[in-house]
C-alpha cells in the first residue's frame, strides 16, 4: 500500500509553472530521494507535500494512519497526520534551549488544556514529565543530552542539523521529509549523517523522503530516486537506473 500518492500535481505562481505533471507513489519503509538542478521545483514540491502551498490542480493523498485527502493538508496539521519535516536553511528556535526546541516537536503528543497549565493541575505534571523523559531519551540517541540546556544558536552547524532532525522525530512521525539535510556539511559529517538517516529509519520505523544535492548520500541510501528538471519529473527509478539514464545526464551535464 502506497503511503503517499501524487497524481498529476500542478502548481503555478502567476505565469510560472513551478511543478507540473508529477506522478509519484511511495511505499512505506522506503527512503526516496528527490534530486534535480537548482530551480527544478524540488522545494516547491516539498512545500506542496507539507501543505504550505496548495496545489493548483492534482491530488496528494497520504495513507498513513488513515487516508488524508489533499484539501486537508495544513502545515500545522501535518505532525498529527504523522508527517514531520526539516528545513533547507535550518529553522531552529534560536533563542530556546535544545531541550525546548525538541519539546516543541513533541507538541502534538501533549494534550492537556489551557486551564491545567494555568493552575498547574495534576495533568500538567503528568504530561510534562512524560514529555521531558521521552525527549531526553531522544536527545541521548543523538548524543545531545549533555547539551540540552545550551541555546540553539550557540551550537555548531552540524549539531544544529541533528537537533532539527531530533525535533522532527519528537513528533513521532511515520513519514519524515528532509530538505537538503547534508547542505553545508563536510564529507565526514555527510558520512555520519548518511548512517544516521539509515539508522533512524530502522529504529523509528520511518519512511523518508529527502531532497539532496549530495550524490554520494542519495545514491548510497535511497531505494528510489526521482529526478526533477524544469518542474517536471524526468526520471524515476533505482539509483543504478538513474545514474545511467541519458535524460538525467543531459539535465546535469548539458546535452549536445
Amino acid at each position: 500500500m502506497a503511503i503517499l500518492r501524487v497524481n498529476d500535481l500542478y502548481k503555478s505562481f502567476g505565469g510560472v509553472k513551478a511543478v507540473s505533471n508529477i506522478n509519484i507513489s511511495i511505499e512505506g519503509g522506503e527512503i526516496a530521494g528527490v534530486i534535480g538542478p537548482n530551480g527544478a521545483g524540488k522545494t516547491t514540491f516539498f512545500n506542496l507535500l507539507t501543505g504550505i502551498y496548495s496545489p493548483s490542480s492534482g491530488e496528494i493523498t497520504y495513507n498513513i494512519k488513515k487516508e488524508i485527502p489533499s484539501k486537508n493538508l495544513k502545515p500545522h496539521k501535518m505532525t498529527s497526520y504523522g508527517i514531520a519535516r526539516t528545513f533547507q536553511n535550518i529553522r531552529l528556535f534560536k533563542n530556546m534551549s535544545i531541550l525546548d526546541n525538541v519539546l516543541i516537536g513533541y507538541h502534538n503528543n501533549l494534550s492537556y488544556g489551557v486551564i491545567p497549565s494555568l493552575f498547574r493541575l495534576p495533568s500538567y505534571y503528568k504530561n510534562e514529565e512524560k514529555a521531558y523523559n521521552e525527549v531526553l531519551e531522544l536527545l541521548k540517541i543523538f548524543n545531545l543530552s549533555d547539551k540540552k540546556d545550551e541555546v540553539a544558536r550557540n551550537l555548531p552547524y552540524g549539531e544544529q542539523r541533528k537537533v532539527e532532525i531530533a525535533r522532527a522525530l519528537a513528533a513521532k512521525p511515520k513519514l519524515l521529509l528532509l530538505d537538503e539535510p547534508a547542505a553545508g556539511m563536510n564529507p565526514n559529517e555527510t558520512k555520519e549523517l548518511t548512517s544516521l538517516i539509515t539508522w533512524i529509519k530502522d529504529e523509528f520505523d520511518l519512511t523518508i523522503i529527502l531532497i539532496e544535492h549530495d550524490m554520494s548520500l542519495v545514491m548510497g541510501i535511497c531505494s528510489k530516486v526521482f529526478v526533477f528538471n524544469y518542474g517536471t519529473l524526468i526520471a524515476s527509478g533505482t539509483p543504478d537506473e538513474i545514474q545511467n539514464n541519458p535524460q538525467v545526464i543531459t539535465a546535469y551535464l548539458g546535452g549536445e
Binding site: 500545522h76 534551549s97 519539546l103 516537536g105 494555568l118 505534571y125 513528533a171
Partner: protein
C-alpha cells in the same frame, strides 16, 4: 516535579510576607495615602506590563492597543459598580470578560497581520475605543464616568497582581507557552511542528486583554473617575516602554521595570520642568547600553534549576 517543593513553598512565604509587612505599614500609617496611590499605580502597571509581555515579549505580536483593553475593563467595572451598584468582585469579573471578548473580536481579524502592520491595526483599535468612549453619553462622553466607588484596597490589589503574575508565568512554562515562544522565534518552523499559530495568537491576545481588563477595573475603582483620554495612545506606549525596559520575554523584568519606572517618575516630580527630559534620557541610555532590557529574556531564579522545563533560556 511536584507542586509542594522547596522553591514553591519559599516563594509562597515570600509572597505572603511582603503582603503582611506592607499591610502592617499601611495600617500603622507609615505608608500614607500618597505613597499608597503610587503603590496602586505600580500594581496596575505590573498587571498591564506582564500581560502585554505575554503578547509582545513572549509571542512576538506587536500590540499598541493595550490601553484600549484597560479602558474597556475600567468602563465595564465602572458601569457595573457605579451604575448598577454591584459588588467589586462582579465588577472585576465583568471587566475581565468584556476585555477578553474584545480581545477575541479584535484578535481574529488583526492577528493575520504581522509586525508593523499589526501594530498599526491595534493602534487603530485603540483610537476606535477612545472615540466610542468620547461619544457615548451613557458613560459620560468626554466628561468621563464619575462617582465610581473606591473598592481597590491593598489586599485585592496585591492578590490580583500575584494571581496575574502566577497564572501568566505558569502558562509560559507549559507546552502552550513554549508554543507561543516558538511562534516568536520562527513562525514557519513552529507551524511545521504542529503548533496552530492562529489559535495561539488569538489565545494569547485574549489572555492579555483579560488581565488588562482587571487592571482597568482596579484603576477605575481606585480613582473614582475615568475618562476616555486617560487610556489613549500614550498609555499604550507607557506600558510598552515598561515591557521593553524590563526585557521582552522576562516576567521579572516587567515587574522590576514597572516598579523602577514608577519610582523614577515619582522622584522626578520634584523637578517638574525637566521631568520628561530626564525620564527620556534614562530610557535613552538604558536602550543604548542594554538594548535587550534590564533582564533580557531571562527570569530571576531563586535556585539553580535541575530539569529545566521553562519556555525560555538565558540569553548569553
Amino acid at each position: 516535579m511536584k507542586l509542594l517543593n522547596k522553591k514553591n513553598i519559599l516563594c509562597a512565604l515570600a509572597i505572603f510576607s511582603i503582603y503582611a509587612i506592607a499591610g502592617l505599614l499601611i495600617n500603622i500609617g507609615f505608608i500614607d495615602s500618597y505613597i499608597f496611590l503610587n503603590i496602586v499605580l505600580i500594581g496596575i502597571n505590573i498587571i498591564l506590563a506582564v500581560s502585554l509581555n505575554l503578547i509582545t515579549g513572549f509571542t512576538g505580536q506587536f500590540s499598541l492597543g493595550h490601553a484600549a483593553f484597560m479602558s474597556i475593563g475600567a468602563y465595564a467595572s465602572g458601569i457595573i459598580t457605579a451604575k448598577l451598584g454591584q459588588p467589586f468582585l462582579i465588577g472585576i469579573i465583568g471587566a475581565a470578560l468584556f476585555s477578553a471578548m474584545a480581545g477575541i473580536i479584535i484578535g481574529i481579524p488583526t492577528l493575520r497581520l504581522k509586525g508593523d502592520y499589526l501594530a498599526i491595526a491595534t493602534l487603530g483599535f485603540g483610537e476606535i475605543v477612545k472615540i466610542i468612549g468620547l461619544n457615548n453619553d451613557y458613560i459620560g462622553g468626554a466628561i468621563g464616568l464619575n462617582d465610581i466607588p473606591q473598592y481597590t484596597t491593598w489586599s485585592c490589589l496585591y492578590a490580583l497582581v500575584v494571581i496575574t503574575v502566577l497564572l501568566i508565568s505558569n502558562f509560559i512554562k507549559s507546552y502552550h507557552g513554549r508554543a507561543c515562544i516558538s511562534i516568536r522565534e520562527d513562525e514557519i518552523a513552529s507551524e511545521a511542528m504542529g503548533v496552530n499559530t492562529t489559535y495561539y495568537k488569538v489565545l494569547v491576545f485574549t489572555m492579555g486583554a483579560f488581565f488588562a481588563g482587571i487592571a482597568g477595573a482596579l484603576y477605575a475603582n481606585y480613582f473614582y473617575f475615568i475618562k476616555p483620554d486617560s487610556f489613549g495612545f500614550m498609555k499604550s506606549i507607557d506600558i510598552l516602554v515598561i515591557v521593553v525596559f524590563g526585557g521582552m520575554g522576562s516576567i521579572t523584568g516587567s515587574i522590576i521595570g514597572a516598579i523602577l519606572l514608577s519610582v523614577i517618575s515619582l522622584f522626578l516630580q520634584s523637578i517638574p520642568e525637566l521631568r520628561m527630559v530626564v525620564y527620556s534620557l534614562i530610557l535613552f541610555f538604558i536602550m543604548i547600553y542594554r538594548p535587550q532590557g534590564l533582564m533580557g529574556k531571562s527570569d530571576f531564579k531563586f535556585f539553580k534549576k535541575r530539569g529545566v522545563l521553562s519556555g525560555h533560556t538565558e540569553s548569553k
